[in-house]
């Protein structure tokens, strides 16, 4: 497998413009003859499908949801970054680029990240033109806030529902194309395989989730915008149905999977309340601006809290350990996501957790309320406090919040070159499904930016470079390759529904999630990772022999859908552990306990690991690790410190 990143020549600032000029074009009359499949209708997928259709391509769009509008991009709260510098605070494309590459702990390509920063400004214009109701100042101009530790205000937002509003904007662009007949929308279809003809992606196999029918769809190119894989942990802030299946099946067909061990843990989520817990809810990062994180100083006190004998209010000030302020006196509660998360885990593992499961710490607003007023706190965080109250049934104005880290985003994904094409020609990956722009750690308010940059501004240009060379013949599905792929999918579906063993799919998924969380989560060790690989293989066996999938394949069958997804999560989980084991350094979301500074911070090894690890699937043995070296010509690699 050859990894050619296709990074254009020239100065960082000129690369994208030069590249766009050099890309081959398809003339308008020929675009009508070319069909593109887009799988997924989140920010990346919907914006790509709409933009490609506007250019004149025929687009077939697919989602497993009942409507494109339900994709999980909708749940993003905080905002979207753009280097508009509307606030005259020294922001620029270069600064956004720099912050992003540094935030990613120098494990992303300079050229990709610069392009992202460059097109970020167009995204805001596009969204506003579509009618996205961003927050505004009294003068009627767009408001910004600072976010994720950035020193400038560059985050555009729509209350705590920025993802929703941006997705509805992209959905409306998609609707316009559907009404014009240029996009054919296929709802309730789950992609289960990609079909390769002569090594090129030429179609997909999907299951109609209502009738169970296995359908074939052919095209001249296939785009996957199918999101991240956070649900491998079972519990995450992802939507219940978010999954890796489309990306994983592409991986099994030959697309390299890059940096699977880069996963992001968000420190402020609502803790798990019991075994039945189905998902975790994120509370915006902004809460740490005013909240103080603490646990009791003594284990005995923590034990009493866990048993419900006393509450936080019974613990005197002298008995409280504000561990972030203690460990990081200069940054205190505002240390980056990964540092805050690991510190909370450390306290809970040591027995100081304050919820019955032991996995929770306090986030206390009492001082902030005393310092300012309950009213001011309500102005800032009212909707978050209400959301917390609905879930936990406790008033955070009176009782400290209980929080714990949870998986939130995955930086790894399908390897793509500068044109967003995977190692399979004609197969592209966009948004969270690819690995490209966030390196080892993503900054707040950058996920929405990347999804829309890929969909609105990158793929419409880069895909023509591929399509200019394909033949215009109408793609057909009556080929041996389609037959084989459809049969494999059908056989697997039938096999799954024939399994009536002793474990439900959720039980095995929960077991898998626990292993990955414990061993491929916030802190990883060589020993733990090796154990994880073994244990995951055991789950793989249990799944094969003893899973129970009720019902049949010819109906709406959620257990069957889940079974197919968990099958892939098990394999992905193993690859994550292997990737984490091979990366003998700590960087961003990947923390190897063997590799830390004396202060307990991530210790990178730039000599040996300033590269992308791209894994090649091997049906008959261990996956193969390939490397794409990362070349930094513009930024100097530095070590983070938050003491």
């Amino acid at each position: 497998m050859k990894l050619n990143s296709n990074i254009p020549e020239g100065n960082l600032q000129d690369k994208w413009q030069n590249h766009k000029f050099k890309l081959k074009l398809v003339n308008p009359a020929n675009k009508r003859k070319l069909k593109v499949i887009v799988v997924g209708t989140g920010l990346a997928g919907a914006s790509a499908a709409a933009s490609l259709a506007e250019l004149g391509y025929q687009v077939d769009a697919f989602t497993f949801h009942d409507s494109p509008r339900r994709a999980h991009s909708i749940a993003a709260q905080g905002g979207i970054n753009a280097a508009k510098n509307y606030h005259n605070d020294g922001d620029s494309v270069y600064r956004l680029f720099y912050d992003t590459i540094k935030g990613g702990d120098y494990r992303a390509r300079e050229a990709n990240v610069y392009r992202l920063a460059e097109v970020s400004v167009n995204i805001i214009d596009q969204a506003v033109a579509q009618g996205v109701p961003f927050a505004r100042e009294y003068g009627g101009l767009l408001d910004n806030r600072s976010f994720g530790g950035a020193q400038v205000s560059r985050t555009f937002y729509a209350k705590g529902q920025t993802g929703q509003q941006l997705l509805l904007g992209a959905y409306s662009a998609l609707n316009r194309q559907i009404s014009l007949g240029t996009v054919t929308m296929h709802n309730r279809r789950e992609m289960l395989d990609v079909v390769l003809i002569d090594g090129h992606a030429k179609g997909i196999i999907v299951r109609n989730m209502v009738t169970g029918e296995i359908e074939r769809h052919a095209a001249h190119a296939v785009i996957l915008a199918t999101g991240g894989y956070g649900n491998v942990y079972y519990l995450s802030t992802n939507a219940k149905n978010s999954n890796v299946t489309a990306a994983w099946r592409a991986h099994k067909k030959g697309a390299a999977f890059a940096n699977p061990c880069y996963t992001q843990i968000h420190p402020t989520c609502i803790p798990q309340s019991g075994e039945y817990q189905s998902k975790l809810t994120l509370m915006s990062e902004s809460l740490r601006n005013d909240g103080r994180v603490w646990v009791p100083k003594s284990k005995e006190t923590a034990e009493k809290v866990r048993k419900g004998e006393i509450t936080a209010l019974d613990i005197p000030e002298s008995e409280r350990d504000y561990f972030l302020e203690r460990r990081y006196p200069s940054f205190g509660n505002l240390v980056p996501r990964d540092v805050a998360s690991r510190a909370a885990k450390e306290r809970c593992d040591a027995g100081f957790g304050i919820v019955p499961t032991g996995q929770g710490v306090y986030l206390d607003f009492a001082d902030a309320i005393k310092r300012t007023s309950a009213h001011l706190i309500e102005e800032k965080y009212g909707n978050l406090f209400q959301m917390y109250n609905k879930i936990i049934d406790e008033d955070p104005y009176k009782m400290p919040m209980k929080i714990y880290p949870a998986v939130h985003y995955t930086m790894g994904g399908l390897w793509v070159d500068y044109n967003l094409m995977t190692t399979i020609p004609g197969l592209f990956a966009l948004g969270e499904a690819n690995f490209s722009d966030h390196g080892a750690n993503r900054l707040g308010a950058s996920a929405l930016m990347q999804g829309l940059a890929d969909g609105y501004f990158v793929i419409p240009s880069t895909i023509s470079n591929y399509l200019a060379d394909v033949e215009f013949t109408k793609p057909g599905t009556d080929t041996a390759e389609f037959d084989r792929a459809a049969k494999e999918v059908k056989d697997n579906t039938d096999d799954l529904t024939s399994k009536k063993g002793k474990y439900t799919v959720d039980e095995l998924h929960r077991q898998l999630g626990k292993i990955i969380w414990d061993k491929v989560g916030m802190g990883r060790t060589a020993e733990g990772l090796k154990e994880a690989i073994q244990q995951i293989n055991q789950i793989k066996e249990d799944f094969k022999k003893d899973v129970h999938v009720p019902g049949s394949a010819a109906e709406i069958n959620e257990a069957l859908e889940k079974a197919g997804r968990v099958q892939d999560f098990i394999e992905l989980g193993e690859l994550m552990a292997r990737d984490a084991l091979a990366r003998e350094e700590s960087c961003g979301g990947h923390f190897r306990e063997e590799h830390q500074t004396e202060e307990g911070e991530a210790l990178r090894n730039d000599e040996q690991f300033a590269h992308v690890a791209a894994w090649e699937y091997n049906a008959n043995g261990d996956p193969v690790r390939h490397q794409e070296e990362l070349i930094f010509e513009n930024v100097k690699l530095t070590q983070r410190s938050y003491k």
Partner: protein
């Protein structure tokens, strides 16, 4: 918590369907309502029975996938929540809970509690957008929009498309849903160019889907998880009448 659940079971859209009663001993008040259904489904699976199909995804009240009528109320006995945000502490130990799908001609039942809401998409296709191709937008700050207008537009754009308005309305009317989009785009300067055509097309599409008519009862806004006000319906009526009668 011990619960008696009376759940609508229907194999597919052709099936007549009926209520089945189940008992659940191991629910607790910290569970969300959907987690309680998860527990029921684990139990049914273990007993070799078919689990209850229900729609869900984000489980934090924003994707709009979930929704059933619980003891006679869309999204159940809590205010400003989608079904996924409803918690079992809103019920009592030993209570009987009746769970039904959204009922409307425009929302045919596909299985158990899963309904087909594609009518909403079709209404959106008819005109729920501003015609602006990628790349043709001017700078975002060229057009100042007073904060009050932007906020009012947001209060309509807030809609999650769950369909509780239709489920709650005694006439199964989709006016609040359609009005939310019409109002959102009619308020903003960007939406002006197409506003007369948009409202006519969207209302026409809505009428073709078999939803009932609005009789201004306000049941929709009472059950809307995002508290979208019926003043947006008034705005749509105004837009429609001026588009149909006043405009040339």
């Amino acid at each position: 918590m011990k619960l008696t659940l009376e759940v609508w079971r229907q194999k597919n859209s052709e099936d007549k369907g009926k209520f089945e009663t189940y008992t659940l001993d191991n629910a607790n008040e910290h569970m969300s309502f959907l987690e309680m259904l998860d527990v029921l489904n684990e139990k049914l699976t273990k007993e070799g029975k078919d689990p209850v199909a229900f729609s869900h995804d984000c489980r934090e009240g924003i994707c709009g996938s979930c929704g059933c009528v619980i003891n006679g109320r869309p999204h159940g006995p809590d205010e400003e929540v989608a079904t996924c945000q409803l918690h079992m502490r809103k019920f009592e130990d030993g209570q009987k809970i009746t769970i039904e799908p959204w009922r409307a001609k425009g929302f045919p039942v596909l299985k158990d509690l899963v309904v087909d809401r594609s009518a909403f998409d079709r209404i959106m296709h008819a005109g729920g957008f501003i015609t602006v191709s990628t790349g043709s937008a001017v700078d975002a700050n060229l057009m100042p929009i007073p904060k009050a207008i932007a906020d009012e537009a947001f209060s309509a754009a807030n809609c999650i498309g769950c369909g509780a308005c239709v489920a709650a309305c005694k006439n199964a009317s989709a006016m609040l849903f359609v009005a939310a989009k019409v109002s959102h785009l009619a308020l903003l300067p960007q939406g002006q160019a197409e506003k007369t055509e948009r409202v006519k097309k969207m209302v026409k599409a809505m009428d073709q889907e078999g939803f009932g008519n609005c009789t201004n009862t306000g049941a929709c806004e009472a059950e809307c998880p995002k508290s979208i006000s019926i003043r947006h319906i008034a705005r749509m009526n105004r837009e429609y009448l001026s588009a149909s009668i006043a405009s040339e």
